[in-house]
């Protein structure tokens, strides 16, 4: 047990800190996220700067543009970005899901082709898993991929696909064996979003923004070399994606929560807080430390044994509910100004937007109910509910 940085970790942290001081544009500090990420080129340029300085894809293999660093460096990087209130890299799906899945299951050609442009933010990815009939129960996927002469022909509909409207590539879960049901007969494809037959329709979210979309596939041709893993073995590949989506190591979630808690503390210092709000704020600060230390436990087990500790499985569940509480606390600290929106609201409507957006946190990437069932069944070993 030793919470201090090793000399290598400390040197890395020091270097990153001074890099951030020199390179983070002030106007990007404390960025609210959401749709505004893709307005103008500022955040893409910022993501590119992270990549050029070697801070994107720290744990990815060096030969594909990554840093080849241990997980602890990634944790430090996310902590320091949060500390500086620097915006995250725009390639959310590419960095968090598509990339790790390709690293785990992809061919040599796929790794050389796709990984570096994810890191440099030149190519944006989206995830096509959910469908009208397949949400929590992902094994209900029906979008079909018919193998025809070294290419798949894809027909079907995907739903709730974040960033599909600006994406270049999609990780798509399809049913390649029409006679199959449930977990068998699925194939995991990389689909060019600029292909003929791909139609994207933005869906407006309760925040008013349209960050997720419907995608319609009509006779879309996908070369067979775009299969990730085995034909018919898509379920296993999809599970790798979900593992990463739910933040195996949780440090990215912790960093996001840290920014919120820091801002809430700043707000309470600016505007004052009564004893009840002070108690709630202290509770959230404590919860953040608890999440951080839980991540450190899971990470140190991973670094020692190659397998992350089971406690890491609670990170997404804990973060999503904490973020909902903290953002609501932010509104309460604003008092009656909480009703104002956008430019009329204090801090440009930051808290109003964050609070509304947080309601999606317990639905996206596995609902809290599904995550509780996973903890109950896989960690506690309770009998299956289904």
């Amino acid at each position: 047990m030793d919470l201090r940085d090793t000399p290598e970790e400390a040197a890395f942290r020091e270097r990153l800190r001074s890099w951030l001081e020199e390179n983070l544009p002030t106007e990007l500090q404390g960025h609210r996220g959401g749709e505004a990420r893709f307005e103008g080129a500022a955040l893409r340029a910022w993501s590119r700067a992270l990549y050029d300085a070697g801070y994107a894809g720290l744990t990815w293999p060096k030969e594909y543009g990554g840093g080849g660093a241990p997980y602890s460096f990634q944790a430090i990087c996310l902590e320091e970005l949060a500390r500086a209130e620097a915006p995250a890299h725009v390639g959310v799906i590419g960095l968090g899901m598509a990339g790790p899945t390709i690293i785990a299951h992809g061919t040599e050609e796929q790794k050389s082709r796709y990984l570096a442009p994810i890191l440099s933010a030149e190519e944006i990815w989206c995830q096509g898993f959910s469908e009208p009939g397949a949400g929590s129960d992902l094994a209900g996927v029906r979008t079909s991929a018919r193998l025809d002469n070294h290419r798949f022909v894809v027909d079907g509909q995907k739903l709730w696909s974040s960033f599909a409207h600006i994406a270049d590539w999609c990780i798509l879960l399809t049913r390649s064996d029409p006679k199959s049901t449930r977990h068998a007969g699925l194939t995991y494809l990389i689909v060019d979003m600029h292909s003929p037959g791909v139609e994207v329709r933005p869906l407006r979210q309760l925040t008013g923004e349209a960050e997720f979309n419907e995608i319609f596939f009509t006779g879309v041709e996908v070369p067979v070399e775009n299969v990730v893993g085995e034909i018919g073995g898509g379920w296993q590949v999809a599970m790798t994606t979900l593992l990463h989506e739910r933040g195996t190591l949780g440090f990215a979630l912790q960093a996001a929560l840290e920014v919120q808690v820091r801002k809430a503390v700043g707000l309470a210092r600016d505007r004052g807080a009564d004893p009840i709000l002070r108690d709630r704020l202290a509770r959230e600060w404590i919860e953040l430390q608890a999440l951080r230390m839980t991540n450190v436990r899971s990470l140190s087990k991973l670094m020692k044994t190659g397998v992350p500790g089971p406690e890491g499985s609670i990170a997404k569940l804990v973060w999503s509910e904490a973020n909902q509480r903290v953002t609501k606390l932010g509104l309460e600290l604003l008092g009656p100004d909480a009703s104002l929106a956008d430019a009329n609201a204090p801090y440009g409507g930051y808290w109003q937007y964050q609070q509304l957006r947080s309601r999606g946190n317990t639905i996206e990437a596995g609902t809290s109910e599904i995550l509780r069932s996973i903890v109950a069944e896989r960690v506690l070993g309770l009998p299956r509910s289904r």
């Binding site: 047990m1 919470l3 940085d5 108690d279 608890a290 087990k301 804990v318 903890v375 506690l380 309770l382």
Partner: protein, 325 residues
């Protein structure tokens, strides 16, 4: 960045669990023979020269076993105030201590000697009358002392901050032990008890409550380990980490016991069942020294009232660089 236990520390946990199973009231001399009373006492004073991290392992196990005796009062409360000769007696199992920090004093029924805070120092209290009071939690009785004379000056009051951090952290660790045991009983029960033709653990109204109990427990345990490391290293965050850990873990222990009682049904409400004793220890810990609400007021003070913004310093705390390995 490492928050895992070593092989030796894991072995200590196993040894403690096996030793305490079914015997929650071992004699002080037995604990000394096991080396537990002198864990963090220097080797030249007859101790093992280890740290609070090893004591942390024991506190969690002692909590789990609902140990009744002066270990907490001696090791968490009194030890930092004791001069080397008296520490040697503790390591040898010759004496145990308690410390009168507040009117209600712990383990007066089992501790040999009493230290008391008075004015500028911590003194041994001699010739006092002890009265052990009835408490809901019978495994850690509280009492009051009357009369008596201050004897030897043991330490200046400067050590009180360290004592408070140690004590709060020890209580947090005990809470994790209590909650861990209650959760284990609940998991066992809901996996085997059947109603409506299925094990009750298959119902989400039951299983999700246990998933929440596990989640709370792991969060609290992470805080307790953080605090334990800070105490062991005399890290500057020890005070706030201990407050965070105790406020979280004691409330978690209460909540987990309540969940465990609920999912046991009628059997969970009986005097025979172990659960009510775990529950009462949890309630006792929650109110002892300072409740969760009280401690969060301290944390809020540190966050909001100080000149510097603690959130910006403590949250992503890169502590000093480790020297050597």
């Amino acid at each position: 960045m490492d928050l895992t236990f070593t092989f030796e520390q894991d072995e200590l946990r196993e040894q403690a669990r096996a030793f305490l199973a079914g015997r929650p009231e071992p004699a002080w001399e037995e604990l000394a023979e096991l080396g537990w009373t002198g864990v963090s006492i220097a080797e030249d004073a007859g101790g093992a020269g280890l740290s609070f991290v090893e004591e942390a392992v024991l506190f969690e196990e002692l909590g789990r076993a609902l140990y009744h005796g002066p270990y907490f009062s001696t090791v968490a409360l009194a030890l930092p105030a004791l001069p080397a000769d008296l520490r040697a007696e503790v390591a040898a199992g010759e004496t145990s201590w308690t410390l009168a920090l507040a009117p209600l004093v712990s383990d007066l029924d089992t501790a040999d000697r009493i230290a008391i805070v008075g004015g500028d120092g911590i003194y041994e209290l001699e010739g006092a009358e002890r009265e052990v009071l009835a408490t809901t939690d019978g495994s850690r009785p509280l009492g009051v002392v009357r009369g008596g004379e201050p004897g030897r000056l043991l330490a200046p009051t400067g050590v009180l901050a360290e004592i408070r951090a140690r004590a709060l952290t020890a209580l947090a660790l005990e809470s994790c032990g209590v909650a861990g045991r209650a959760l284990e009983l609940a998991i066992e029960h809901v996996s085997t008890r059947e109603q409506f033709g299925r094990p009750i653990g298959a119902y989400q109204a039951v299983s999700h409550r246990l998933a929440d109990a596990y989640t709370q427990l792991e969060l609290s345990r992470s805080l307790a380990l953080w605090a334990a490391w800070c105490v062991a290293e005399s890290d500057e965050q020890a005070t706030v980490a201990a407050a965070a850990a105790k406020s979280s873990a004691a409330e978690t222990a209460v909540a987990v016991c309540e969940t465990a009682i609920q999912v046991h049904g009628g059997i969970g409400f009986t005097w025979e069942h172990e659960l009510h004793r775990l529950y009462k220890r949890a309630l006792g810990i929650e109110s002892f020294i300072a409740s969760g609400t009280r401690l969060r007021a301290d944390v809020a003070g540190a966050l909001l009232d100080g000149k510097r913004n603690m959130a910006s310093d403590a949250t992503s705390a890169p502590v000093a660089v480790r020297q050597g390995g």
